[in-house]
Symmetry: C2
Subunit: 452 residues, 2 copies
C-alpha cells in the first residue's frame, strides 16, 4: 500500500501511554472502591441520548458545546455530564428503584469546546448522588465530605480542604438585609473573592448599588471563619431574624456534627460562607474542595444538595445530594506538576523467559502454574537474543524475571531474578509460586500522589 494516513487523534482528547494509563486506572479504582464502601452502586447510561432529553434544561454555553447530530430520523447528543442522564434514569425507573437510590458513575462525557490548556473535549467525571423520594436525611450531606476525604487520602494527597456552606443560610442572610432581589448578583460577586480580593468585591458591590452599611454587613459576614464551633458562634451572634437563615444554620450544624461522628478531621474541612456552586440548582449544603498548595487549580471536587433532581421529566419530588470529581482534569493537573508516582508500565509481576525455543513449552507451563496461584505472568516466547528478552523485562519494568534454560529444565529449577535489586538465585520450580508471592508481599507500595 502506497498512501499512508498519518495516525493521530483529535485535539482535546486525552489518550494515555501504558504507564500513565496504569496510574489513571488505579485512581479510578480507588474512587470506585470508596464510593462502593459507602453503599453506592454503579450505573452505566448510554453515551448517546435523544437531544430532547439531554437538552431539556441545558442552554447557553453548554448547548453550543454539545456534540449533536442526526442519524436516521433521530436527533442525538453525546452526554455532556452525568447528572442529566441520572435524572432521566431515575424519572424513567422511579417505580422500580429503591430509595434512597445511591448511584455512582465514572464515565466519559463530551463537550466540543475550543481546546485550550487544561480543557478537554472528552473527559471522565466520577459522580455520586443519593436520591431520596420526598425526603432525605441531612446525614447524607455529611457522608459526602467523608467520601471526598477518603478518596483524596487514599490517593496519597495530604493537604486539601473541603469547603462547606449552606445556600439557605446565605439566602436568609441576604433576605434579612432586604437584599433578596440582589442575592443572585451578590453571590456571583462574593464567589470571586479569592480571585479578585476583598477590595474589588467592595467595588463590585458598590456598582450593584448596595449601601455602605449593607456592603460592610456582607463583607463581615463573608469574613467569618475559623473552627466550625467558632463560625457557628459568630453566626449566632449576628442574631439574624429570618426563618431561612435559621433553617440553614441548623442544617449546617447538624451536618458538621455528623461529619465529626464520621471522623472527618477539622484539619480537612472548613465552613466557607463565600462558596455558592452556581446559582439555580443547589438549594442546601454545597461543597468545594481545594488544594491550598495549588490555589489556581480551583475546586477539584464539588457538589451539593438539590430539591428536585428530575423536574423536567416527572412531578415526583426527588431531592438529592451529590458530588462530581473531574477526574481527567485532576489527573492532568497532577501530571503537569509531576506529582504522580510511577506504577511501572504493566501490572505484570513475573516475566518467564525461556532461553531458547526448546524451553518455550516448559516456560508456558510454569507461567500457567504461577497464574493459578493468582500471579500475573507474561511469557516471552518469541525467539530473539536473550539480551533483548531481558531488555523487554527492563523496559516494561516487570519486577521479577524467571529464566529457564536447558539446565533448569533438567533440574526442575528456575533462576529467579529480582530486577530492582539486580540479584538472582536458583529456586526449585515447586517453590516458585510461594517465593514470588512472598517477595510481592514484601515489596513496598507507594501512594499514587507524591508527597509535596
Amino acid at each position: 500500500m502506497a498512501h499512508k494516513i498519518t495516525p493521530r487523534i483529535l485535539s482535546g482528547f486525552m489518550e494515555l501511554p501504558p504507564h500513565e494509563q496504569l496510574i489513571f486506572n488505579q485512581m479510578k479504582q480507588i474512587i470506585a472502591d470508596s464510593y462502593e464502601s459507602f453503599g453506592f452502586t454503579e450505573l452505566d447510561t448510554p453515551t448517546l441520548e435523544l437531544s430532547e432529553i439531554l437538552l431539556a434544561k441545558a442552554g447557553g454555553e453548554t448547548e453550543k458545546q454539545i456534540y449533536r447530530f442526526n442519524k436516521g430520523d433521530a436527533d442525538l447528543c453525546m452526554r455532556f455530564d452525568l447528572t442529566v442522564p441520572l435524572a432521566r434514569y431515575v424519572a424513567q425507573h422511579q417505580n422500580e428503584l429503591t430509595f434512597p437510590f445511591k448511584r455512582y458513575q465514572i464515565a466519559k462525557v463530551y463537550r466540543g469546546e475550543r481546546p485550550q490548556h487544561g480543557r478537554f473535549r472528552e473527559f471522565y467525571q466520577a459522580d455520586i448522588d443519593i436520591i431520596g423520594s420526598e425526603k432525605l436525611s441531612l446525614a447524607y450531606d455529611a457522608e459526602i465530605p467523608c467520601i471526598i476525604y477518603r478518596i483524596f487520602t487514599k490517593l496519597g494527597l495530604k493537604r486539601f480542604q473541603i469547603h462547606i456552606n449552606n445556600r439557605k443560610l446565605l439566602q436568609g442572610f441576604y433576605e434579612s438585609l432586604g437584599l433578596a432581589q440582589q442575592t443572585t448578583d451578590i453571590l456571583r460577586i462574593i464567589d470571586k473573592t479569592d480571585k479578585i480580593g476583598t477590595e474589588n468585591v467592595r467595588l463590585c458591590l458598590q456598582d450593584l448599588g448596595l449601601k455602605e452599611t449593607d456592603i460592610n454587613a456582607v463583607l463581615s459576614f463573608c469574613a467569618i471563619q475559623g473552627s466550625s464551633e467558632n463560625v457557628f458562634s459568630q453566626l449566632k451572634k449576628l442574631s439574624v431574624d429570618n426563618a431561612l437563615f435559621s433553617e440553614g444554620l441548623e442544617a449546617l450544624e447538624m451536618v458538621v456534627e455528623a461529619m465529626k461522628s464520621l471522623g472527618l478531621p477539622e484539619s480537612h474541612f472548613v465552613i466557607d460562607l463565600k462558596i455558592t456552586r452556581g446559582l439555580d440548582y443547589y438549594t442546601g449544603t454545597v461543597y468545594e474542595t481545594f488544594v491550598p498548595d495549588f490555589p489556581n487549580w480551583g475546586s477539584v471536587c464539588s457538589g451539593g444538595r438539590y430539591e428536585n433532581l428530575a423536574e423536567y421529566y416527572t412531578d415526583r419530588k426527588l431531592p438529592g445530594v451529590g458530588i462530581s470529581i473531574g477526574l481527567t482534569r485532576f489527573f492532568d493537573l497532577l501530571r503537569e506538576k509531576d506529582l504522580l508516582n510511577s506504577l511501572g508500565k504493566t501490572t505484570t509481576t513475573v516475566l518467564v523467559i525461556p532461553m531458547s525455543e526448546n524451553e518455550v513449552n516448559q516456560a508456558l507451563k510454569i507461567g500457567q502454574e504461577l497464574r493459578s496461584e493468582g500471579i500475573k505472568v507474561d511469557v516471552f516466547s518469541t525467539d530473539i537474543k536473550f539480551k533483548n528478552k531481558m531488555a523487554y523485562a527492563n523496559k516494561m519494568q516487570i519486577p521479577y524475571v524467571v529464566i529457564l534454560g536447558e539446565n533448569e529444565v533438567e533440574t526442575q529449577t528456575v533462576v529467579l531474578k529480582e530486577m530492582e535489586k539486580q540479584t538472582q538465585h536458583t529456586v526449585p520450580q515447586s517453590k516458585l509460586a510461594p517465593t514470588v508471592r512472598l517477595l510481592c508481599h514484601l515489596r513496598p507500595t507507594a501512594p499514587i500522589i507524591k508527597a509535596f
Copy 2:
C-alpha cells in the same frame, strides 16, 4: 413546571437495572483480571476519532452503520470497533511502545444499525491483541485459547468449545486441488456447514462449478475431526504436496502442543477445518468459541492471527494475534435464557439502621468503623418508620443489618441480623467488624453463570 418530557432512551441501547449492572460489572472484571493475568495492559482510546482514520479501511455495511458527523470543520466518527483504534495507536506510538505490545480494551463501540432482536447500537467489546514487531512467536497463538478457557471457566460456564483452525492450511489444501482462485468462495460456503448441512454445501459447491472429485475431496477434508492427534494424523495421510499446507499444519501442531503445555483440556478445544473467520484479514490461526447447548448463539468469542495490524498507517510490519468477546451480546444471551445467578442489588455488605434520629450519629460512627476494616456499609439515616428501613434492607438484598437503638447505644452493643437466615444476636460494638468479616468469609459465592 407543567410540560414534562417522557424519560426514555434510544432503542438498541442497553441500560441495566442495578441488579443486572452488578452481574455485568463482575463479568467485565473477570475478563479484565484474566487478561491482566496473562500480561495485558489496558488501553483507553477516545470514543471519537477522525473519519479519515477510522474509515481508512472500512467500507460497505460498516460504513453505512457508523455514527458520523461534523463539528466545526472536523469530520468525526464514533468508533465501531476497537481494532482500528488499536492499529492507529500502535502506528502512532510505534517508537515509544515496547514490543510485543499486549493490550486489552473493554469498551463501548457504536453501530447505528437497524435495531433488531439481539443487536445493539452501543455495545461492549472486550478485546486483547498481542502485537509484535516484525515477528511474533506462535506460543502467543496458544495463549489465546487458554485465556478464553480461563474467562469462561471463571464465569461458571462448563460446556463450551474453542474451535481452532489455520488459514494457511486451508489455503494450501485448496491450492493443492488447483482451486486457488475459488478458495474464497469455497470457504464462504464451507463456513455455513453447521447452518445449512453437508448436502446443501454439496449443492452450493456444484453451483460454483466444482468437479465431483473435488467436491468429495473438499467434503472429506472438512469432515476430518476427532482428537487433535487424530486430526493431525488424518491430515498427514492426505499427503498434500503444498508448502503453505505444510507450513499451516506445522504451525497448528506447534500451537496445539503449546496449548497442552498451558493445561488446556482436550474437552474444551477442537480442531475445526471448517471455520475461517472472514476472509481478508486473518492469515494464520483462527478461533471461534461455541456453547454446544445453544448452537444458534454462534461464536461468543472469535479472533485470529494477522500479518499486518496497521498497514493503512505505517509501512512497519506489525503481526498480531487477538480475540474479541462481544460482551453486551453475550450478557444478553445469558440473560434471555435465565442463566445468570443473582448477585443481589448492591455490593453493600452491611446496612446500619439507627432506630430513631437520636442514634444517627452513633450509627454513622459504627458505619465508618466497619469501613475502615474494608467492609462496604450503608447507613439508613432518613427518619422513617423502622419497618420501612428494614424493607429497604430487604429490597436491596443487603445480607447483614446492624440495628442500633437507645438500649444498644447505652450498652455499646448492636443487634446484628443475618437477613438470609432471619436470625439475630447482640454483639458488642468492639466485636462487630471481626464478626461481620467472619460471616462474609463463610458466605457461599455462586458463579455468575448458572449450571445447565
